[in-house]
Subunit: 186 residues, 2 copies
DNA sequence: TTTTTGATACCGAACGATCGGTAAAGTTAC
DNA sequence: GTAACTTTACCGATCGTTCGGTATCAAAAA
């Protein structure tokens, strides 16, 4: 392997930040080039499919990140409430304490390929499933657990939007504070 | 090519649909031209400030629509629960039963002018205020009413995002169903 | 009533800039 | 040398925007 200026992980995480900040249509190869330090043509060497492939990789990378830092830890043996508290801190980081939009949101606006749409849907469904499982583990019946899981994610996404418009991450922080009550038996 | 004319209201509502569907960056003058029936140059006659001015007009138009169909009716004398039910049906229409993104969401992504950002913030604050007042009217203390108002809007925005990703408006419909319980004393 | 006129609204064509994308040459590591 | 990788240079298309000119219509002038 010869001379790779920037690692795959860095390349992907920096691209993700650009996409999440400017949206799919607002993300230009020039911006990606600036953010990653790679020339446009170099991006095409890494991602022959161009912008669409980068967006898809960002979506899959987001899924992988969630799997590693949220889904899997929630599955490990241990106190559900304790695991949930750890997962919440991971989410706080992921969204930069409510200041960075969600990839699911910005990449799901019209303009993306069907592949991208599917990747986002898969990842979000996996998220719902992970939250459903932890809610069941803490004693809630299946149907109710599922309802609460969706409710939790709805509230995360919504508070990110509201917080962005109001220029105040208070709503997001409150949502994170309420997550344990939503996902475990109150 | 024959002359084409369109009323200010139509012009604005069609532009709003384009912006809400494709986002600020994804909305091109070509798309606006196609959606409104006016040539690009004609759009500049109506909006000398170009795309930014159209987006600002869409934001202010959204605020005006909400004021007329939601905020003001909620202020009129009458049973709070009844007024709320009517407002909910207006919101269902506004979001095309959960299939059309929210203008606050798509216009608040990076790229808009400070003026636009302010207009969105003002409109959302007015929405929160209107929901707070109706919650107070139905017997909730001020602080709790405000909390519930924000919660209601967070849930609307979040369910729109989740529904868009999952390709299923179920979450949005459920949110509307839950709104009375959120905004009035359960 | 008919004609003239001026303001308003609209359009076709073009601007420079930037878009996503490509080909080929140059550089680095093995 | 060769393969992996990056870069310079470039492409056609589209971006937001501008401008000269045309259509429309109401009011004034005939």
């Amino acid at each position: 392997m010869a001379h790779s200026t920037v690692s795959d992980e860095d390349l992907l995480s920096r691209s993700a930040e650009v996409f999440r900040t400017y949206g799919f249509e607002g993300t230009s190869l020039a911006r990606l080039s600036e953010a990653t330090g790679l020339e446009k043509a170099s991006l095409y060497h890494r991602f022959p499919g161009g912008k669409e492939q980068i967006a898809l990789a960002v979506a899959e990378g987001t899924h992988a990140w969630l799997r590693l830092h949220v889904f899997e830890p929630l599955k490990e043996p241990g106190d559900p409430r304790k695991k949930l508290r750890a997962a919440i801190e991971q989410l706080r980081d992921c969204y930069a304490d409510g200041t960075l939009p969600c990839a699911f949101e910005v990449l799901s606006l019209a303009g993306g390929s069907p592949e991208l749409t599917n990747a986002l849907k898969d990842a979000l469904q996996a998220w719902i499933k992970a939250f459903t499982e932890i809610a069941k583990e803490s004693g809630l019946p299946t149907a109710e657990a599922r309802r609460r899981a969706e409710q939790a994610i709805v509230q995360i996404e919504g508070s990110l939007v509201v917080g962005r418009v109001l220029g105040d991450a208070k709503a997001f922080r409150r949502t994170l504070d309420e997550l344990p009550a939503i996902l475990t038996n109150e």
